[in-house]
């Protein structure tokens, strides 16, 4: 009862399984006992194996400490013993619902190190695939956020659309979740016949369906009551923690790699980035919905501007990146994904650092949780979009 934890305030407290907890009494006039509660690693709200250790005073969260690592698979070590072709298949798997964006990051890093000029058509198709992948990802979180607030219908609607999108992406890539469609120097192969028609049609359908989600959730009084003003994040705090993606955009900061450091052919497209104003759960969710529309805009631009030509460079059998180091960042659906690639000239990287958006976003979570209600924790964790595999790698 007497001992207090070593650090208070803005700095994250370290935590781990089996660590002794101490309780601090703040106001002697009303002594209530705090309850220590483990949310996770097996808990429906954390959709994965994230663990949050919270101290509760009644239903108010006094202290929150995310404990990560339950899904650490050593991707960075594995990358050091795989060649670049294998790494593309590997990085599909750390954030399994933004697979294409991850593999694109690796391909770009190697290409930048080798100073390759990828064929234009391949670059346009990369944008197309990346944006569809972004929509797939956002649909997932739109559904799951509803589910976490107790609205069980949106998830069925969004998975219906995911199914349709995956079906025609499969026709080009052969994969439904792990596409493995990028190659160093281009793509696996060109788009199959009929793909663009399917893509056009789906883009149209998706627009009307997106309005359906809006009506279903944003038209609901309880949804507003549950999310407005909940977990409001200040822009400077977000930037200080390295928060990116929809979570950052909701605070009003339009820091989007597609906008500020365009890769592929984003500099030739009109990229729009929806931003929020308050940075609360509601804004984060609306930004997600708007981002689907923004992605559809981009997809339609690609439909119109897609040039012909090859999609591959002639590459040697074994890709060897020259000696050197490069950092490449891409705008992944959940935020900024970065690959710091150090090569010693061999066919495997010397070091491959994966900077994942979820890692930085989860680090910030205690800032939002402390002082909020247990019920709000669900609205906060559900709207700071993360994938546990992306946090732990």
């Amino acid at each position: 009862m007497s001992e207090t934890l070593p650090q208070e305030g803005g700095v994250m407290l370290p935590g781990g399984p089996g660590e002794a907890m101490s309780v601090e009494i703040r106001d002697r006039s009303l002594v209530t006992q705090e309850m220590n509660l483990n949310i996770g690693p097996q808990h429906p709200a954390t959709h994965g194996v994230l663990r949050v250790v919270i101290d509760l005073d009644g239903e108010v969260i006094v202290r929150a400490r995310p404990v990560i690592g339950y899904m650490h698979r050593g991707f960075e070590k594995l990358a050091e013993v795989r060649d670049y072709r294998q790494i593309i298949a590997l990085v599909n798997r750390h954030d399994w619902i933004s697979a294409f964006c991850n593999e694109l990051g690796v391909a770009l890093a190697v290409e930048r190190l080798m100073e390759l000029e990828v064929p234009t058509r391949a670059q346009w198709i990369r944008v197309l695939m990346g944006e569809w992948n972004r929509i797939l990802n956002h649909l997932m979180f739109i559904g799951s956020f509803g589910l976490e607030l107790g609205a069980i219908t949106p998830v069925f609607f969004s998975f219906r659309e995911r199914e349709d999108i995956q079906a025609f992406l499969e026709s080009a890539t052969g994969g439904r979740l792990h596409f493995t469609y990028c190659r160093v120097g281009g793509l696996k192969e060109d788009l199959p016949r009929g793909f663009l028609d399917a893509s056009r049609q789906m883009a149209q359908t998706m627009r009307s369906r997106n309005d359906e989600y809006r009506q279903l959730l944003l038209g609901n009084e309880i949804f507003h009551a549950r999310t407005k003003g909940v977990g409001a994040l200040a822009p400077d705090v977000a930037i200080d923690y390295g928060v990116t993606g929809p979570t950052l955009h909701a605070t009003g900061v339009a820091e989007d790699t597609r906008l500020t450091e365009p890769y592929c052919v984003y500099d030739q497209l009109d990229v729009s980035v929806p931003v929020g104003t308050n940075g609360d759960s509601y804004d984060r969710f609306v930004v997600l919905l708007d981002r689907i529309d923004a992605s559809l805009d981009l997809i339609e631009q690609v439909h119109e501007g897609l040039p012909g030509g090859p999609v591959n460079l002639k590459m040697p059998k074994t890709v060897k990146a020259p000696k050197g180091a490069v950092y490449v960042r891409t705008e992944n659906p959940l935020g900024q994904g970065g690959y710091y690639l150090v090569s010693d000239g061999g066919k495997t990287p010397w070091r491959m650092r994966m900077r994942t958006p979820s890692f930085s976003n989860i680090q910030m979570v205690p800032e939002l949780l402390e002082g909020s209600l247990l019920s709000d924790m669900i609205a906060i964790l559900g709207s700071v979009y993360f994938v546990v595999g992306d946090v732990d790698r």
Binding site: E80, T260, Y327
Partner: protein, 264 residues
């Protein structure tokens, strides 16, 4: 919700070229900067380790730099030099970046660096991860323990090159097992150099093959040893089938030459 369009937000005029940032840093903190390199359009600044927080603070607070965004921190194994840490800072206002590279003091035995948590809150977990993966101690960090990603009683520092992946002890290709002492450390300042071509590559391939053969031999030995052990334990007919399957597997392993998929 309002939207920001790329057509409305051209790169700001305050954006500095990588060389300009390097020059500015070298001018303001000459004692802290070892070298500045620009490769692939990216600026890498080698920093004297004890001055790392000062440089980061300058990057953050200097108006012209304004690097408010802590992006990531990557530990890198630098062979006999020890370990280095690369930190990327970025300015959301000016849209320019810098990679700060600091070689940890204390060599491979007790690598240590001053913490950046006083400058950027986001550095906390990245430093904990670098500690977890490389054993680099960040002085002044609020708490590196318990280990952030691995289990708390994990032994060793998994991303060091001398930490071997168990599978690679058995089946070496295509990864490297140990740091290659003859070669330059990865953190050298050189820009990209074209990889060796022709004969040297062949030579290397041959060497690798030889190495693979050796490892395979070792693996076969181990398997044989294991089999012998098992036979000693169990005895009788059951081992015969077990042994057969084992040898089958070994055969598979021998035929497991890397299959190069032409991507062209």
């Amino acid at each position: 919700m309002p939207t920001v369009r790329s057509s409305e937000t051209p790169p700001p005029a305050t954006r500095l070229a990588p060389e300009a940032i390097g020059a500015l840093l070298a001018e303001r903190l000459p004692e802290a900067i070892v070298a500045t390199t620009v490769a692939h359009g990216q600026l890498t600044v080698d920093v004297v380790p004890e001055h790392l927080p000062r440089v980061a603070a300058l990057c953050k607070r200097e108006k012209a730099l304004g690097m408010d965004f802590f992006d990531m921190m990557a530990g890198v194994d630098a062979d006999e030099d020890g370990f280095s840490v690369v930190t990327r800072l970025y300015s959301t206002r000016h849209r320019h970046e810098v990679l700060l590279r600091a070689l940890a003091e204390g060599g491979r035995e007790a690598p240590r660096l001053p913490t950046l948590t006083g400058v950027y809150r986001g550095a906390n977990w990245h430093e904990r991860e670098a500690y977890d993966m490389y054993g680099i101690t960040f002085e002044g960090h609020p708490g590196l323990e318990p280990r952030i990603l691995t289990v708390e009683n994990f032994e060793g520092w998994p991303l060091r090159k001398d930490f071997l992946l168990t599978t690679r002890e058995i089946k070496p290709w295509p990864g490297e097992k140990v740091p290659k002492p003859k070669e330059e450390p990865a953190t050298s300042d050189e820009a990209a150099q074209p990889a060796d071509e022709g004969p040297s590559e062949e030579e290397r391939a041959a060497a690798k093959k030889a190495k693979a053969e050796r490892a395979k031999q070792k693996a076969a030995e181990m398997r044989a040893k294991k089999r012998a052990q098992r036979e000693a334990e169990a005895g009788g007919g059951a081992t015969a089938s077990g042994g057969a399957s084992e040898s089958g597997k070994a055969g598979d392993g021998a035929g497991d030459e890397p299959e190069e998929g032409g991507s062209a």
